[in-house]
């Protein structure tokens, strides 16, 4: 009895029990806050499922396969908006990936030291500008440029592909993708930059010592090492693009039909909810919009968990490699 292991006794866990009640109340309070954060996550899914139960029951899988959204006839679907979301995000990434990674490479490999910090801060500023401001700018500045200068040229030379059919009015899927790419770039650049900066010097020096040029060092020694970090940055940028609302709402044209070309007025899931929610009047329209929100939530959850998984594996792998 007297030979108790001091490390097992309650008082030796670092806590002299002077005021046990104070400690307990404090623990319970912080535990409650933690529970609230966790509950928030669960509640997001549960409440949206509950709110959309009317349409889940009434339409079932046809909500995911039907192609027409028409509140007057009580017909609802996610398809045109899911297509709009995927197409705009895909084109946005097509623009943002090379620019974002290129900028990250320049910032970490080539840029002189005095340039790195200020440019890094400017990219943070790019991420801090609210999306409604980008949307307003897109509507007033980019839409006329697209309508008058860019889209007629695209229609003339690339019209045969079928991607650029219809009358270019500027308010369309292509413009929305362009504005979205601006919003995805800071995420991709920042995370790629961090993972490239974390590549050990020895990797570069080994490549340099066998006579590699600057680009060969980057391409063969640095990028492969930073690959999973860059992929995670791209996936997070995709998550940002999929859920982006205000910038898209202002420039996509807000037409609730399946887009037929990049010049079509369309709608993403997020812009649909933003546009139609407050004025939703038909029965089942609000539940249908909540179901759309639920689907968007599940997509972004999957994407974010995927990105975290890639990052976690990357960090674990680097821990082993650093030995």
């Amino acid at each position: 009895m007297s030979l108790r292991n001091p490390f097992r006794s309650p008082s030796s866990r670092g806590t002299p029990r002077v005021s046990r009640w104070g400690d307990r109340i404090f623990l319970i309070l912080t535990l409650l806050a933690t529970a609230a954060v966790a509950a928030l996550m669960v509640a997001l899914v549960v409440v949206l499922v509950y709110g959309s139960r009317a349409t889940i029951q009434a339409y079932g899988f046809s909500f995911l396969t039907n192609r027409v959204w028409n509140p007057e006839s009580n017909i609802y679907t996610i398809v045109p908006f899911a297509v709009g979301t995927l197409v705009t995000s895909a084109i946005a990434l097509l623009i943002a990936i090379p620019l974002g990674i290129g900028a990250a490479i320049f910032l970490t490999q080539q840029a002189p030291g005095w340039l790195r910090a200020p440019v890094g801060q400017l990219i943070e500023l790019l991420a801090a500008i609210p999306s409604i401001v980008y949307g307003f700018w897109g509507l007033i500045v980019i839409v006329p440029i697209m309508r008058d200068d860019v889209e007629p040229v695209l229609a003339r030379y690339l019209g045969w592909t079928g991607l650029f059919g219809g009358n270019p009015i500027g308010l369309d899927v292509l413009t929305a993708s362009l504005v979205l790419s601006v919003m995805a770039i800071p995420t991709i650049t920042a995370i790629s930059r961090d993972s490239i900066a974390a590549v050990p010097r020895s990797q570069k020096e080994a490549a340099l010592s066998i006579g590699a040029t600057d680009w060969e060092v980057t391409r063969r020694a640095v990028l492969p090492y930073a690959r999973s970090g860059i992929i995670a940055g791209i996936v997070l940028g995709l998550g940002r693009a999929l859920g982006e609302t205000m910038a898209v709402t202002l420039v996509i044209g807000n037409n609730n039909v399946l887009p037929t070309s990049l010049f079509s007025q369309g709608q993403t899931i997020a812009s649909l909810i933003a546009n139609d929610f407050f004025e939703a009047a038909s029965p089942n329209e609000v539940p249908a919009l909540l179901e759309a929100a639920l689907i968007l939530l599940l997509i972004t959850l999957a994407i974010n968990l995927g990105a975290r998984f890639i990052l976690a594996r990357f960090q674990a792998g680097r821990g082993v490699g650093a030995e």
């Binding site: 670092g14 806590t15 002077v18 104070g22 400690d23 404090f26 623990l27 309070l29 912080t30 535990l31 409650l32 806050a33 933690t34 609230a36 954060v37 966790a38 928030l40 996550m41 997001l44 409440v47 509950y50 620019l99 974002g100 290129g102 900028a103 320049f106 080539q110 840029a111 400017l122 500023l125 801090a128 500008i129 609210p130 999306s131 401001v133 980008y134 307003f136 700018w137 509507l139 007033i140 040029t213 600057d214 680009w215 060969e216 999929l242 859920g243 609302t245 205000m246 997020a270 909810i273 933003a274 929610f277 407050f278 919009l289 909540l290 968007l296 939530l297 959850l301 994407i303 975290r308």
Partner: protein, 296 residues
Amino acid sequence: MKFDRAARRKVFSNGMTVLTGLSIVAIMVPLVAVIYQVVSLGGPVFNVALFTQGIPYPCTPHPGVTCHQGGLVVPIEGTLLLMGLSALFSVPIGVGAAIFAVEFGGERRSARIIGLVADVLSGVPSIVVGAFVYALLVIYYPSIVFSTLSGSFALAVIMVPIVTRTCEEALRTVPNSVREAALALGISRWKVTLRIVLVSALPGIVTGILLSVARATGEAAPLLILLGNGCEHPLQGITQEGCALPLWIYEGATSPDQNLIALAWGAALLLLVLILVLSVVSRMTLDRMARRMRGE
């Protein structure tokens, strides 16, 4: 032959350097263009009236008609109210969860799960948060669904993961020796946490709160669902329909009337200045902390 190949590789390498440099330039173009546009169009309405008058009657100038510029008193009040309320709801939860994760969780799985939940929560689109708050309130409190209060709930949900994450990082920078020294003096754990650990981490925590406020201040999407139509008349109270700067930018941008569009640019400039000030102040707080840690 051999020399040619080396020269080609060198040229290719330099070409890629130029391309990556150009991508930096390409990224800066929208930044410069947006700021130029906001300053040049928002500047002219940036006067005293902007802060003293209400939203004007919609009007487009034509011969014989002069339009009222109006001001942003209602959206400014609404945004300040939303900032205060959402911070009030989110800061205790975020800081509490971070304290639990760092001070009680340590390296345990529960601590890592909180970090993961916060990361995933911060990836949830803001429009989904708006729909969530609507769906939740409409069950229990249908009377406040469209109000400043419900808007601040949505902003609080957006802020919680940011506060949790940054506060967690700030608490982890406090060395364990500080905790051990205090505990060795016989001070109880909750007093050590509140009076010593939290105070040492305060600059980091303040930075996190300011950053989350800056992020929430610019959010328009959930407010589009939740605030209702409160911009045209003075604010009625937090359970009534409200207004905010980002929401007003949307309403002005989509209106056909020149004076409302001009006022929306004024709102955009004001919003940018507000967010810039918040991030500069948070950066200064961090710098001061760094200096203090170096012992200057």
